[in-house]
């Protein structure tokens, strides 16, 4: 049993339960029909269109989270603007944030 400050779990018991249920799920699957005809039907379904080349339909890693980035566009735009690549800017951020933490922890904290 692994216990932390917050919670607990027993990985061994979890794995045993998972293996038993996995075998049962496999047995359920084994009831089904195994055979299939290897003709036209093994080609990917593309609503009747000709399959483009693999490169053409490959989703790049940069597009993987498109919906997420698009929905939070304004946030990402702001963050991009802040990341100028100039070391002076990063040092200025570092000094500024350190000052805020200093004020929050030491000055306001003492009061």
């Amino acid at each position: 049993m692994i216990k932390t400050v917050g919670g607990y779990w027993d990985p061994i018991i979890w794995i045993i339960a998972f293996i038993v249920i996995f075998i049962l799920a496999y047995m359920i699957r084994a009831i089904g029909k195994k055979e299939y005809r290897k003709g036209e039907q093994i080609k990917p379904f593309l609503s009747g269109m000709e399959e483009p080349s693999k490169e053409a339909v490959h989703i790049r890693a940069s597009n993987l989270y498109w919906g997420f980035v698009e929905a939070l566009k304004s946030y990402y735009e702001t963050m991009k603007k802040m990341h100028t690549g100039i070391i002076n800017d990063y040092v200025a951020w570092f000094v500024g944030i350190t000052a805020i933490i200093f004020i929050a922890v030491f000055i306001v904290g003492i009061i």
């Binding site: 049993m1 917050g6 919670g7 607990y8 779990w9 027993d10 018991i13 979890w14 045993i16 339960a17 998972f18 038993v20 249920i21 996995f22 049962l24 799920a25 496999y26 359920i28 699957r29 009831i31 089904g32 029909k33 195994k34 055979e35 299939y36 005809r37 039907q41 093994i42 080609k43 990917p44 379904f45 593309l46 609503s47 483009p52 693999k54 339909v57 989703i59 597009n63 993987l64 989270y65 498109w66 919906g67 997420f68 698009e70 929905a71 939070l72």
Partner: protein, 335 residues
Amino acid sequence: MLGELLFKTVIASIGITIFAVIFGLLFKGIDRKLVARMQMRVGPPIRQPFLDVIKLMSKETIVPENAVGWMYNLAPIICLASSIILLLYIPIGNFEPLLGGHGDIILVIYIFLIPALAMVAGGFASGSPFATVGAQREMITMMSYEFPLAVVIIAIVWKLSNIGGDIFSLQFISSHPIWEEVGLLGLIGGIILLLALVIVTPGEVAKIPFDVAEAETEIAHGLLVEYSGRNLALFYIADAVKMFAMASLVVALFFPYNLSDFIKLDEIVAYIADFLFFLFKVFLVMLFSISLVRAGMARLRITQVVSVYWITITLIALFGLVLLMWDNQYSIKWW
């Protein structure tokens, strides 16, 4: 001692598999019938999901030429197994969770991710552009609803930390209903958190309006487009079981009351009555968080799913959490 624990785990796993498959499919049938009636259709009979599984089992299980075979075939089994294992950690009626002492609510939240991840893996392994887009959408949906879900869970656990004990244990949470630990502000906070969880539920089980990963009319069932026969049957059962497990979790967190708490009953009669009452509560949760929403709404776009969960629902859940915190400071009794 160890042998006894192993024996108990094996028997519990077998028992819960039978229970999960039967009741998952039964409730899926009820959901389909209800949605049909709400839309003025006759709808399929309640036993239809069982017939669907039998039919799928007799169909060809096609493995597409572009697919990564082993992953493509493995994903549905992992999806079903991880959906079923959830019920081992969630209390059912008056029965304590079968493995409640061996895993807490954080574990349950993590296990909820596995079926979705298995579907993503299966989608990518299909080698189909539609499935790839579906898998990509499933990942984004998953990233979206996890945040408000975590806020709801943490808020409840934090509130219960006032009374001390095994606060992360679902057994503990369900034996200390949040409504009995709060004042007026906490009551409003609790209702807001419940609302947030009710909106997270259709996202967690990929139902309308959050079923962007399987959008039939748009990407031809998305990550399941290439699946057929017994593999599709397993995903179908897993979907039903996950829906039942999610509703059971909502019941355990917010409506853990049993009939035997209010009416004096004999031990065996109490177990039966509480079990039937539990099924009724699961039915109500499914009715309000899945069936009604599914019948009355259209599918959102993927960007809307993200903004709804990350901005609207997260803010609502955080407001509920703040109300619970204020409840500690200004305790105003509501009863």
